[in-house]
Assembly symmetry: C2
Homo-oligomer: 278 residues x 2
Amino acid sequence: MFREKLRAASQRNNSFLCVGLDPDPELIGGRHLPGYLQAVIESTLDLVCAYKPNLAFFEALGPSGMNLLIESLAPVPKEIPIIADVKRGDIGNTARFYARALFEAYDFDAATVNAYGGWDAVEPFLAYADRGVFVWCRSSNPGSADLQDQRLADGRPLYEAVAELARSWNTRGNVGLVMGATYPEELARVRGLCPDMLILVPGVGAQAGDLAASVRAALDERGGGIIINASRQVVYASTGADFARAARRAAEGLRDEINRERKAALAAMGSGGGETSW
Amino acid sequence: MFREKLRAASQRNNSFLCVGLDPDPELIGGRHLPGYLQAVIESTLDLVCAYKPNLAFFEALGPSGMNLLIESLAPVPKEIPIIADVKRGDIGNTARFYARALFEAYDFDAATVNAYGGWDAVEPFLAYADRGVFVWCRSSNPGSADLQDQRLADGRPLYEAVAELARSWNTRGNVGLVMGATYPEELARVRGLCPDMLILVPGVGAQAGDLAASVRAALDERGGGIIINASRQVVYASTGADFARAARRAAEGLRDEINRERKAALAAMGSGGGETSW
């Protein structure tokens, strides 16, 4: 099961940090792409709970893109889950093939999806009970207000309706949410609606989210239930020859900062800042 | 420009029919995939205004999928536009890479996108002014009501808000909509909101849309502005050795039926059932 695999990796590395792999050729320069990402992965293996490749960046490389992705991910041991960031969504018959691609052809542990098509657009992913499915709920980009913040007739913003739908779909315990880091109040409200679900928080770092506020808002009652992602901040911590060491330093700093915020939040909740309790 | 290329192909073949390429290995059986699709394409080249490969079906084939797609599309002459059905959508920096993949690495003429991320999730596609961008507005699957039909505080269903957003983004004339065929009333309402935009209607045939009602509802004032897609109904018209001839017969029948409905609708509008007037 995805959630158990994630929990084990998180406990082993004492980490709620996910490193996002978004290879931008302009930032990598003339370097060999799989080699660059392999070095970043090898230098952060003991600091993360998951890796999250963003498939857009590999698709942009053309027909060899997915082979480059597979090669890039080779150093990830099978104990660390890999979340495919793809935001896929389409009607049922098409969704079945997207799910087959992600969970069979590429064997990812989890994927992000788009729920605009409703129940039968997401169910083909959910049917893989051992995989994680993160429903895109609230993003942190400027245009996110265009639709996600639209007020429904019953007063809820659309993203809350998405969160509640996702909760209703969580009959197998494999549904999570993607919630941008720059809106801690929205994060806290959604955590209240979905107390038992995983929340994947992208956008820490380059997207200017407030790490401390996001961690506190997203934590569940037991001080867990979160995956805090950083991509560019780690992968391009340095553009020099020391990029792998710089990635490690950045990942270690983020991991420790997340843990400090978790401890403080747990203490404030009265649990005495005890052990990780996934 | 996409729209001019589409118009020229439509006029040359007197057709508003798009053939969707959704290769399901179970239906193709043991046949060579690119060869199967090439035969379907070669037998329908003079009957369509566009082809629409659904990339989910190729991604499900694993790392060789996109090469198989390129091989499958080889018989399409450069005069016939190819619409990538991908429903992509993500925050701006990621959307830029999806757009680069679709419009540069693969050089598609148009793509379907998901607007959940708002303006900056779609703008990287729109920036390719010579390509078409079809915003997923209303689908015809059972779960489409879950979000698309949600009433906003101002009384509009969400899909109408999406249509109006898409219209506001159409400053370069390259935005269209994807509207399922099974809801002619919704189609007519959206056509009223977006009189000048292309409407791509998937789901004729296997998805049980009412072809006649959909054509009448989606047509613009000049009797054009529509792309009527059929996938399985054409590609798997026969599963026997005569599949290519059967695909041609199915495509010809659909093309002619669409044209009959167009003529009837134009006559009813008082234009005397005249010539195609894109």
